[in-house]
Amino acid sequence: MSTRGAPVLTKGVNRTASTAVKRISGFGLGPVWHGLRRRFRGLGRASVIGIPYLWLLAFFLIPFVIVLKISLAESEIAQPPYTSLWYWIEHKYLNIRLNLGNYQYLIQDSLYWNAYLNSVKIAAVSTVFCLLIGYPIAYGIARARPDRRILLLMLVILPFWTSFLIRVYAWIGILKTNGLINNALMALGIVDTPLVMMQTDFAVYLGIVYSYLPFMILPLYANLEKLDLTLLEAAADLGCRPSKAFFRVTLPLSMPGVLAGSMLVFIPAVGEFVIPALLGGPDTLMIGRILWDEFFANRDWPVASAVAIALLLLLVIPIVLFQYNQARAAEAKS
């Protein structure tokens, strides 16, 4: 039965290794040998971690540093269109010049203030509406019969897979002056002159809620699906009416999902460009559009960079909140 008597040659590498290990250990070199092996394993681990780490450092983190650097430069007619931050005097003295003018410009010009505040406002309101519309849908799907659930989920996910751009474009056809809604209203005689819905704040709200709705539904559904129904049964047994049980049991337990969904909507919505560009008007100030115009129209890279940095600072707190929530959810799972 025992394999120890079998000749080493006919067994595989592992067996040879363990026999060798025994011999080396016998000489008291065991710990040394294994220390070396551990080093090699550590090297393997380090390179596995290293590959995505290096990529992200190069293509995610360093770009932000560069944006910061350029936000402290001045615009110039050159290729690339910004000045360098440092220059030599008499080949000896390294002079660093940080131009804070871009940030001053941001602070002083009310356009930027208003744009930031407006962006936050629009994003926040849209998030609330996404929540109000998305929560019942997520709840309904989570409560549906298992075979229906897959179908409903597919129905939610399908628009998500079709082009974002095209879905926003669809609203143009619906909201414009001789678009679907107006044609219908006029045909039914409800209004005499067409309603102006395009190029308004209303259109932007509509567009954002519409486009980001799946981002709210999916995390909410993931959370609600895991809800232990026996908790609600216990609540009912203890005399709690269903509507109250919702607010006392279901809603608090779904908070991580609510938070995740809200962050997934709010944060990108603040910097949204496509929707205000296609559906908003000239006075729909959103910071994403301002950044785009600063960059493409004005060719002012330093100011665009400053706008980006300011936007990042604005979003740091929600982003950190999002990461924290995700980390906590991951820990709760383990």
Binding site: K11, G12, K22, P31
Partner: protein
Amino acid sequence: MAESSKAPAVFQPWRDPNETPYVSIERVTKKFGEFVAVYELSLEIYRKELFCLLGASGCGKSTLLRMLAGFEQPSSGRILIDGVDMAGIPPYERPVNMMFQSYALFPHMNVAQNVAFGLKQEKLPASEVRKRAEEMLELVKLGAFAKRKPHQLSGGQRQRVALARSLVKRPKLLLLDEPLAALDKKLREHTQFELMNIQEQVGVTFVVVTHDQQEAMTLSTRIGVMDEGELIQIGTPTDIYEFPQSRYVADFIGSVNIFAGKMIVDEPDHVVIHSEEAGMDIFVNHGVSAGPDADVWAAIRPEKMHISREDPAREQNCVRGIVDEVAYMGDSSTYLVKLESGKIVRITQPNLLRGNPDRILWDEQVYLYWDASSPVVVTK
């Protein structure tokens, strides 16, 4: 009990001075940050034993098992298996195999592939892999299920696949983490005996972790009781049950009545303990290693007591009380008797007579008495 009925003598390698231990755990400590999971634990396990680590959840037994398997490294101390120090040796290089509580079968492979997996890692020729895998499946009586996938099997069948998979490599040491926890009662009993038979047949040393005392008592050659990272007592099931060395062990295994008292007579061949709780003196017919006037506890098992309505007229080893509760278990009856001091004493009696018209009922006054050899005196 697991003492081999085939061997001519009783299986007790730990008593044999010529035997060297197979597994040597030397003062092993394991810390997770600030939390100490295992503290200065030393243990020797001998070849072909079926050793059980018994304890409540969180006592460190699973951590110790994982250190034997190689998934954790001790913070200090050494582990030797067959004389080889296991420091720094990863799980895939140890002559140890483990059967996991969740069975951990590979879901994308069928039963035969699961069992053959370990053999493939040894780079054996394909024909030998197949032969040994088939043999092992026959041993656990799953030969007909070779092509099934894990989710097509019942819980008991999955458990046997897990066992086969871990035994097929002929490990020197097999670790089992709560192997019977997921099975229902009837299946558990049946599987206990099967496990013992397989262990005897294959001759592998087993270390089993469990929180179920009945399982430990049935399976083991020896039991190690653990609490909060330390080994409280090691011994055969008889040792642990009839000769506990502490109140914790006495109370942990089975039920027990513990009377607190003071030693008033301390002789080499008998002691007398005065107990307020009992309301009288307890005479024990063996010597105890504690001084006179020491605080001790007398532990008496419920089945060692007698109960009757008549006064047995003893001066010692007898108490009087009122029956508080009666529990009829079918094969035995348990009475909870309240003494004058307020202490509740538990006594178990087999139901020797069918439909006994004279059985003792609630609120009767009864006398409980026991033999002088029955109490175990513990000093901690």
